[in-house]
């Protein structure tokens, strides 16, 4: 099973990866949050370490994962993504916290 997932990135990561607001990744098998970020990092290796720790894969604390008006940040990374994400109708949003100066 292959799915095409849209991922929306915060501005600084768009600049870093030299991409626009959204990128698209192809996922094989069950489309999970982990699979989506894995695929994102394979396609854009400069993003490694910027969204999650490179060793522990812990999400960086000032980032959140949103999809379909839901906060997926505290879900298991193995949880299947919502159907609307898997079908490409909605993007998976990587969101930076509003904080700092």
């Amino acid at each position: 099973m292959t799915s095409t997932v849209r991922i929306e990135l915060p501005a600084h990561l768009r600049t870093l990866a030299s991409v626009g607001r959204e990128v698209v990744v192809e996922l094989e098998g069950t489309a999970t949050l982990r699979a989506a970020i894995d695929a994102l990092e394979v396609r854009y290796p400069m993003l490694r370490g910027t969204i999650r720790d490179q060793v522990t894969h812990q999400r960086r604390p000032f980032l959140r994962f949103f999809a379909c008006q839901e906060d997926l940040s505290h879900d298991s990374p193995e949880t299947p993504l919502p159907d609307a994400i898997v079908q490409g109708k909605e993007p998976l949003i990587v969101l930076g916290a509003i904080a700092g100066g």
């Binding site: 370490g49 910027t50 000032f62 980032l63 700092g100």
Partner: protein
């Protein structure tokens, strides 16, 4: 004709300032990596167009950037800094054990002989090295594991390894400093290390003469005399004439011996520069007067350099990596402030002019002399 390139790291991006040898008319390029904290940028002594930069963010973590054209274009390099083995613990602020955690790169020190070799001083206090142009990093864990590591405690800015000095005469000798662990030296290329803090006296720690625990802010060395070191400690300006084995205070007549930055004249190994800061609780110049103090006697006797610097209502700080010198015949001295000014003296400190006035807070200043 000679020229200079000043690499400026700020809280919101990097800037590259260039001028010919007169150092009067400046071209300003940047911000590079706008919005990111640029802790430090430094060029390779053997290939000045090879520049390494530490790019960090509370949101997105650590990135390492590399330029092969003197800072015009950049490419992100490997940013995986993993401690060697099971990291163990150092002390937290309250004295309890705290796991070592990588947070950011404070300082990048390119090798004196190989543009692909670069050292990274990181928080929590550790030294990493890349020998492939920052495509991979390995911890030089002999430092962290030499024995005193579990007693290291962070300074107010974190447990940062901020100073790396490479001995130009002895490739096996490296000096480093960590806030607030102190200074350390290896004589075997990084395999083994020892604390070099004898003579430091810090009243704010339980044993003022302890082997480790001193808040060293910065160390400077003249390349012609790598055994002679000058240190700006939390309080006290110190000097060692034996590679750090022992230190003596040379604060002399300084109006305050608290500060962060210290550097040495490019051609006069006994001429030093510091920026006295009022105190550890008030990080700005005394009475709102920004003064660089210069000693031409290796310390103890200091004179205030004020010409061209604000002498009223100035309450900026000059951070530890924010001072540098060029090696033109008339040695240039540069420093950046937390108010966003970068000042240049083209006459060894006698007079100063701002290159830029309104950058974000300056974290680091490094100068390249290009011939």
């Amino acid at each position: 004709m000679s020229s200079v390139r000043v690499l400026v790291g700020t809280k919101k991006g990097a800037f590259v300032l260039t001028a010919d040898g007169k150092r009067k008319n400046w071209d300003v390029s940047g911000p590079h990596f706008g919005g990111w904290e640029m802790y430090h940028l430094k060029g390779s002594p053997v290939d000045p167009n090879r520049v390494y930069a530490s790019q960090t963010s509370g949101w997105f973590g650590q990135l390492i950037q590399r330029s092969n054209d003197g800072g015009k274009t950049w490419e992100p390099m490997n940013n995986k800094f993993v401690y060697d083995g099971i990291p163990g613990t150092h002390q937290w602020y309250d004295g309890t054990p705290h796991p070592w955690e990588f947070k950011r790169v404070w300082h990048l020190e390119p090798s004196l002989t190989d543009p692909d070799t670069v050292y990274a001083g990181v928080e929590d206090g550790a030294l990493f090295r890349s020998t492939d142009g920052a495509q991979s990093w390995q911890e030089m864990s002999g430092l962290r594991k030499h024995g005193t590591g579990p007693r290291w405690q962070p300074g107010a800015g974190g447990l940062c390894l901020h100073t790396i000095l490479l001995d130009p005469e002895n490739p096996n000798r490296i000096y480093i400093a960590i806030s607030a662990a102190g200074a350390f030296r290896t004589d075997d290329g990084g395999e083994t290390w020892k604390p070099i803090n004898r003579g430091l006296h810090s009243q704010y720690i339980p044993d003022p003469n302890a082997e480790v625990g001193h808040c060293v802010h910065h160390i400077a060395m003249h390349p012609s005399r790598p055994n002679v070191l000058f240190m700006q400690k939390h309080w006290d300006v110190m000097r060692s004439d034996n590679g750090g084995d022992t230190w003596q205070e040379v604060s002399g007549n300084l109006p305050t011996d608290f500060g962060f930055a210290i550097d040495v004249h490019a051609h006069e190994p006994e001429t030093l520069y510091v920026v006295p800061i009022k105190s550890d609780s008030e990080h700005y110049p005394i009475d709102g007067k920004l003064q660089v103090h210069r000693s031409r006697s290796g310390g103890n006797e200091w004179e205030a350099m004020t010409k061209g610097l604000p002498q009223q209502n100035c309450y900026v700080n000059v951070l530890r990596d924010a001072m540098s010198v060029d090696s033109l015949d008339d040695c240039g001295v540069y420093f950046g402030t937390t108010g966003g000014q970068v000042y240049c003296s083209a006459d060894a400190g006698d007079s100063w002019n701002p290159i830029v006035r309104d950058l974000p807070a300056v974290l680091s200043v490094e100068v390249q002399t290009l011939r």
